[in-house]
């Protein structure tokens, strides 16, 4: 019995492996592992919560569940942009935490096999810590996010953002 369960679990993880939800921010395309994604919703009324870093836009009511939303543009220190009807909130579930990511638009779910994934090239001024890998799809390049880093950021940066 236990073996079957394990098998099932393995199967499920297998079908989700190597699949990425891609979304765009400006002209770049990003990818996020599908196993983290719970759902995609349109932009909603966001209730501001005071005294938080600017990239935390506030909280939204997702069918009775209250989840925080962060603006990925602001998180990556890009220029803010007006929200429109292409703007989406990707709800992800990481380490028991639900969180919404505001992105410009959601593109598609892609299969990126392991051989097409590379470590990001070494930069002189240090790598962006949110980018885990780089995926190649045809001629395009997808920046694959490290979701865990997105949430559990070092305290120091958070503090400096506030003050």
């Amino acid at each position: 019995m236990a073996e079957i369960m394990d098998d099932n679990l393995g199967m499920e993880q297998d079908t989700q492996r190597g699949r990425y939800l891609t979304f765009s921010l400006g002209k770049e395309s990003y990818g996020i592992e599908i196993q983290y994604v719970t759902e995609i919703i349109g932009i909603q009324t966001i209730t501001e919560v005071p005294e938080l870093p600017a990239y935390v836009k506030g909280i939204i009511n997702l069918r009775g569940k209250i989840i925080p939303v962060i603006d990925v543009r602001l998180r990556f220190k890009k220029e803010p942009r007006e929200y429109n009807d292409r703007t989406c909130v990707i709800v992800i579930d990481i380490m028991e935490l639900s969180i919404g990511l505001i992105v410009d638009s959601v593109s598609e779910v892609l299969n990126i096999p392991d051989q097409d994934i590379e470590a990001p090239p070494q930069m002189k001024k240090g790598n962006n810590r949110f980018i885990k890998n780089i995926g190649k799809v045809g001629n395009e390049v997808k920046l694959l996010l490290d979701c865990e880093k997105l949430l559990t950021d070092d305290e120091t940066e958070t503090m400096s953002d506030i003050f």
Binding site: T45, V49, P50, I59, R63, I66, P68, L97, I162
Partner: protein
């Protein structure tokens, strides 16, 4: 109580039912002991509870519980049948309560999925000895009479046992190929023969519809176990299975000693068996109601004085209720989205409006209902104290009476879980430290029996629970001395009121009792009580009168989840202030305002100077309303300190469901003055202000 059950459903049910029955049993025993006598209907009830317990425990293979229940059942069987005159009531209560404790411990073990390995044999021995003792003591009293009666009853019940059970439910009967007659004997000493027999029948039902067996009433009658032991368990069945298959089937039975399996060739023989016994049943049917009627009249004659807690109820997991509450919240939001849909703006829709109002009425009723489902009366929590009072008064040789008032008061389920332990502690304290020994009481001119009163009543959105004793009261001088020793005094004693001094016993590390007793006095008591109560937003206060007694009052919010809140608006944001902390709200006049050199604003209200807090400044919300005469001031008070909150406008008062801020935000930063958030009727989110933190 909040254990997350991860056991299988059968086990869950067993645990739940058993704990309920044990609780009921405990209450029965304590009532009986108080009245110093067991009433026939209570004996019947206890007998029934033990019987069920025995059956279900055996079913779940908890032999120790089942054996113990069996022995207790024997004792009560004797009480029920022979109605002996001489029973040592308190000894019996002690024994049964000991048994209850044993079962409780075992159930706890099962709950935490440990092996139920307690050994009840010594307890069973004592119970058996007790049974023999009362049998002997009572045998001289109307011995012949009783014996005759008993024999009568025995023969009758065995006679009753000779019935066949015929299933009439299946209208369309399958034609089966083979017929068998089986005679099953169980191993000696395997006990519960009737239940094992039932298991066979249960398994047989899977392969055939036509099963007849003897004795018929295996589940209802204990004598049937005896009968099976003596004569074996007879089964007649029709099936498509071959002889070999049937033989295999029966061979799998646990504790099987002997099996006779015969294939019956002749249909008539089979039919005859059934028909013969059918007649028997018919003739019996006339007798059985007779007996029942007698019993009923017996019951009616006896007074019903014991507390009856049996209500028709079902148990639902709290997780499901939480889910339901969320769903109702969603529904309210969805409703608002439909009714206030922008597409409808400017349209004259009379019928739509009518229907919408009806929908609104229903949804708000559902909302109220869901909230009320979570409310549970304090009855069980209070009645648990009976046992504690009883045990302690026996051990400490004090006479104590427990009076319960207002047990029907309802509070949220979560709260009940939090107050149970503090209550036990307070009651113990009252008996141990408060109530004096009978001799001391008499010398003071008080009745020798002390009284502990447990009272609950609602007061607004709070519930007051009052624990009162008529003991010696708190010793003011000893408290002061103790406080000095422990450096707990923060003010001059002469300046402190009695109440302030008494409330010092709630401070951590304070205990006036010099010697530690079994029940209380470890010096961790009162401060833990105070902490537990404060955790759920309540408060504790102590009052005491020398030689008159002590009164401890717990003030507890009705529910953790719902508060009455005033919604206010600042710019585009919405905030909620708990109504209980609001004193007044008004539009200020410029001339009342005072600004000190460092820019702090204050206002004079009713001869008092009160600081002003501008919400839009504190939380950096952009708003057009910054002048005092455009907005509104809300005066809030917490712990005796007042504060005026400046907001744009009041939106209105409503009951709100408190939700915690998301974990992510709490991890980022602890925001001062925010207690949580809540969903408003239209689905938007409002932040709940924590007045103490502003």
């Amino acid at each position: 109580m909040s254990d997350q059950y991860t056991n299988e459903p059968m086990l869950d049910l067993f645990i739940f039912e058993t704990s309920q029955q044990i609780e009921l049993l405990e209450q029965y025993i304590i009532t009986c002991e108080k009245e110093n006598g067991f009433k026939p209907d209570i004996i019947n009830d206890i007998f029934r509870i033990m019987h069920t317990l025995k059956g279900s425990a055996a079913m779940m293979m908890f032999q120790n519980i089942s054996a113990l229940a069996h022995t207790i059942e024997d004792v009560f069987y004797f009480l029920r049948e022979d109605k002996p005159e001489l029973i040592d009531c308190s000894a019996l209560s002690d024994l049964v309560l000991e048994g209850i404790d044993f079962i409780k411990v075992e159930i706890e073990k099962i709950k935490s999925s440990d092996q139920s390995d307690g050994d009840a044999s010594s307890l069973i021995e004592t119970l058996k000895e007790f049974l023999i003792k009362i049998k002997n003591e009572n045998s001289s009293v109307s011995f012949l009479d009783n014996k005759k009666q008993r024999i009568d009853k025995k023969s009758q019940s065995v006679h009753d046992g000779q019935q066949y059970y015929i299933r009439k439910k299946n209208v369309i009967k399958k034609i089966y190929k083979y017929m068998y007659k089986a005679l099953v004997f169980f191993e000696d000493g395997c006990e519960m023969e009737n239940i094992r027999a039932f298991t066979i029948i249960h398994n047989l039902r899977e392969i055939t519809d036509e099963v007849y067996y003897l004795p018929e009433d295996i589940m209802d009658h204990d004598d049937s176990a005896e009968y099976i032991k003596q004569n074996g368990f007879q089964i007649f069945l029709k099936t498509d299975y071959t002889y070999e298959k049937m033989y295999e089937f029966f061979k799998e039975t646990i504790f099987l000693k002997d099996l006779e399996l015969v294939q019956i060739e002749n249909e008539d023989e089979f039919e005859r068996f059934i028909i013969n016994h059918k007649e028997e049943i018919d003739s019996k049917l006339i007798q059985v109601p007779d007996l029942r009627e007698n019993a009923k009249i017996d019951n009616q004659n006896t007074e019903h004085q014991h507390i009856s807690n049996v209500q028709s109820m079902i148990s639902v997991s709290v997780a499901k209720l939480d889910k339901l509450m969320d769903l109702v919240g969603e529904m309210v939001i969805a409703e608002a989205m439909v009714i206030q849909n922008p597409d409808l703006a400017g349209l004259e829709l009379d019928n739509f409006q009518k229907a919408a109002r009806q929908l609104n009425k229903i949804t708000s009723e559902i909302q109220d209902m869901v909230m009320s489902i979570r409310m549970v009366p304090l009855t069980t929590t209070f009645h648990k104290m009976n046992r504690i009072v009883r045990d302690m008064s026996k051990k400490l040789n004090k006479e104590v009476d427990l009076k319960i008032i207002g047990e029907e008061t309802e509070v949220d389920k979560n709260i009940i879980e939090h107050i149970s332990d503090p209550l036990i502690h307070l009651v113990r304290n009252s008996i141990d430290h408060g109530i004096e020994s009978p001799a001391e009481r008499l010398s003071k001119g008080k009745p020798s029996c002390g009284t502990v009163t447990l009272e609950a009543k609602s007061a607004g959105s709070d519930v007051l629970i009052i624990i009162k004793d008529d003991g010696k009261g708190l010793d003011r001088n000893r408290i002061i001395k103790k406080a000095q020793e422990n450096n707990l005094l923060y003010r001059d004693v002469s300046e402190m009121s009695d109440k302030e001094i008494f409330n010092m016993i709630l401070l951590p590390g304070f205990s006036t009792k010099e010697d530690i007793s079994e029940f209380s006095g470890r010096g961790v008591g009162m401060d833990v009580v105070a902490k537990n109560i404060e955790e759920i937003g309540g408060s504790v206060s102590v009052d005491s009168y020398f030689d008159k007694g002590t009164v401890i009052t717990l003030k507890i919010p009705l529910t953790l989840a719902i508060i009455d809140g005033m919604n206010i608006k600042v710019g585009d944001s919405c905030f909620t202030i708990p109504t209980t902390s609001i004193k007044a709200s008004y539009r200020p006049q410029e001339k009342d305002l005072i600004t000190d050199p460092s820019g702090n604003e204050m206002i004079m209200v009713r001869e008092k100077c009160c600081p002003i807090l501008r919400l839009h400044k504190k939380y950096k919300v952009s708003t057009n309303i910054t002048k005092f005469n455009e907005g509104i001031l809300i005066m809030v008070e917490q712990d005796g300190k007042s504060l005026c909150v400046f907001a744009d406008e009041l939106i209105g008062q409503q009951q709100v469901v408190v939700k915690a801020l998301p974990e992510y935000i709490k991890r980022l930063k602890k925001i001062d003055g925010l207690a949580g958030c809540t969903l408003l009727g239209d689905g938007s989110i409002s932040l709940i202000l924590d007045v103490a933190g502003l």
